[in-house]
Amino acid sequence: MRKLNFSEAAEDALAQAMAQDKHIIYFGEDVVANRRNLLVRFGKDRVRNTPISESAFLGAAVTAAMSGLRPVVEIMIIDFIAVAMDALLNHAAKIETFSGGKWNVPLVVRAACGGGYGDGGQHEQSLWGWLAHIPGLSVVVPSTPADAGGLILAALEHPNPVIFLEHKLLAENWLDFMGTGGRKTVQFDVPVEGARGPAPRKWQQIPIGQAVERRKGSDLTIISIGVGVHRALEAADSLDEQGISVSVIDLRTISPLDKGAIIESVAKTGRLLVVDEDYESFGLSGELAAITLEAGIPLKYNRVCTMGTIPFSRELEDQALPNVQRIKKAAVSLMEN
């Protein structure tokens, strides 16, 4: 199988879909420069620059989607969605319900997310739990090139709004743009298998709402998403040496959650550790505890999430984001008591 970088895979699958479906259009700030390959192949009617007017162009995408187009709207990084939140919260997410199920919004919002390269707390957030909180929105976060392609394809065939988030430590174009800047003097903890990996020649959908078990184990289930999956796998290998057998589940989709896969694994191990790069409180990690408890599974629970506003300092940032040490410590404490 051929190998692609994460962003190449997403673009390759996107191009496959755009070639098949003329209704897919693509817009956002700077896309003429940043998505030049799509522009060349599909023309300027379908691939367009926008002004720095997120609330206008995301709002416009909602009705464009309602009236026959399939817009992919790029919001450079997910932190900037704040200025356009109304379009998602009060419109895109609700129209299917408001219309009595008669009108839907096939919209894809694409944005980079996540930290680990020292850009500060207004540019490195994950926010997927915050977005998934809203009924009517699906949120997907691929952790490998193969998933990036398969999930964007699924998003493009989904009848309702999907937020597609690409972690900047995986998407090489964004890491270069915001972190490396062509420098050889900076290094980041990029998960190798997440940044580059096998990719099919012809893309198939990876269904939205389907988690995958990345590693089998019997003592403890770690559930994570995005870069956290790779951190969890690294921690799991080292925990294995200490005699702790860890199963790692990659959610891939946050909303809707793959409850079946989650419950099945936690029922076996009886221990759940959530590794979530989003904020700790009122989010994904608490939700996972809730659904396992609701399923009547007796469990021990712990979580490793982003602590507070993300600091700019690389050193402090590394401590604030989920890291392998924190994961190992949390796992060991789950085993102890």
Binding site: A15, E29, L38, V40, F42, A56, G121, G181, G182, F312
Partner: protein, 347 residues
């Protein structure tokens, strides 16, 4: 009042040399993340900030370094902040896009357009608590398409607040030429809100200072906000290390990486007609060409222009430049000194 060109040149040079040092440290990997320079904006910033008094406020964008330096923030603290140190201006928590100095009433944001509402709030508290003071919003021309900035202009007008909306117009927002994404003209927008709007050469400190002075007076006299559109350029591009900038500097090396995927997009089956694809390639090449020519090889340098006005007194100029250079060298040295271990902190 006649501006003191010597004092202004000193402010501008200090900021320029400080930022040159920042570029060096960023290149060496000692500063992380994105880095947007205020290089090229010094005359605009100096022309306004030099007219501020105690109690005036600053709402800054992603190019906050020159305004903070010129307002009197300790350069060592600022540089330590960029280095992400606990003894930096914001304890290493903010970084260069999120700089705050409470004692200077200066707040920045990396969110495009956010300086508009921020200045309005500062101005409101000024009117009620610090009569005679004003608030300045600095932002780029690309931000003039962000709703919250336009809304805040209207708010400043209807509340008759002392706000200076200072638009630093370099013609570009990252890799997009701003006029291609902006309808009408910016002065008309300000006029449409019922506010004076003035265009001025932001590289010429004297003309800019005069325009700023009038706006400052209006604000202090309770006559409401003013919009100033000042032209400038960013010789360091949108931010350090952007791929387009690398292409501009090393075309052969970087173009190779771009060309392959572009050519494949021309030849792959399904998609736009061949004619359209060739058109798009031409558009991209012309964009690259324009970026290289216009964004990175800038026109006037505000420092050079100001310097020419002072060259008559060459020895004074020499002394000043030597002094500022030495100051910056000391700042860099001090900023890089090892952190003092705090008492009680375990190592």
């Amino acid at each position: 009042m006649q501006p003191d060109l010597w004092a202004l040149y000193r402010l501008m040079l200090h900021s320029r040399l400080f930022e040159n040092a920042v570029i060096h440290l960023w290149d060496e990997g000692l500063i992380s993340g994105e880095m947007h320079m205020g290089i090229g904006e010094e005359a605009i910033v100096a022309g306004i900030v030099s007219q501020l008094i105690e109690g005036d406020a600053l709402a800054l964008d992603h190019r906050g370094t020159p305004p903070l330096l010129m307002r009197g923030v300790d350069p060592v603290l600022l540089l330590r902040e960029f280095l992400g140190r606990p003894d930096g201006l914001c304890a290493g928590m903010g970084g260069h896009m999120h700089l705050f100095s409470r004692e200077h009433l200066a707040a920045s944001s990396g969110i495009v357009g956010a300086s508009g509402p921020a200045a309005v709030g500062f101005a409101l508290s000024g009117v009620l608590q610090r009569p005679g003071t004003l608030a300045v919003a600095f932002f780029g021309e690309g931000s003039m398409n962000q709703g919250m900035l336009l809304e805040s202009m209207n708010l400043a007008v209807v509340w008759n607040l002392p706000v200076l909306f200072v638009c630093k117009d370099n013609g570009w927002s990252i890799s997009t030429m701003s006029p291609s994404m902006t309808g009408g003209n910016l002065l008309d927008r300000a006029h449409g809100f019922g506010m004076p709007g003035i265009a001025v050469d932001g590289n010429d400190i004297e003309s800019f200072y005069a325009v700023g002075e009038e706006a400052v007076q209006r604000a202090r006299n309770g006559e409401g906000p003013t919009f100033i559109r000042a032209s400038c350029s960013h010789p360091e591009g949108h931010m350090l290390g952007l791929q387009l900038q690398r292409i501009a500097r090393q075309p052969l090396k970087e173009m190779g990486e771009i060309a392959g995927p572009l050519l494949r997009s021309v030849t792959r089956v399904k998609g736009a007609s061949l004619r359209e694809r060739v058109e798009s390639v031409k558009e991209i090449l012309s964009m690259l060409g324009k970026t290289i020519k216009e964004e990175y090889i800038p026109g006037d340098d505000p420092l050079k222009l100001t310097r020419q006005k002072l060259i008559k007194d060459e020895s004074r100029l020499d002394d000043l430049e030597r002094e500022v250079l030495q100051e910056i060298e000391i700042v860099v040295e001090q900023a890089l000194e090892p952190e003092e271990l705090e008492l009680g902190r375990t190592q």
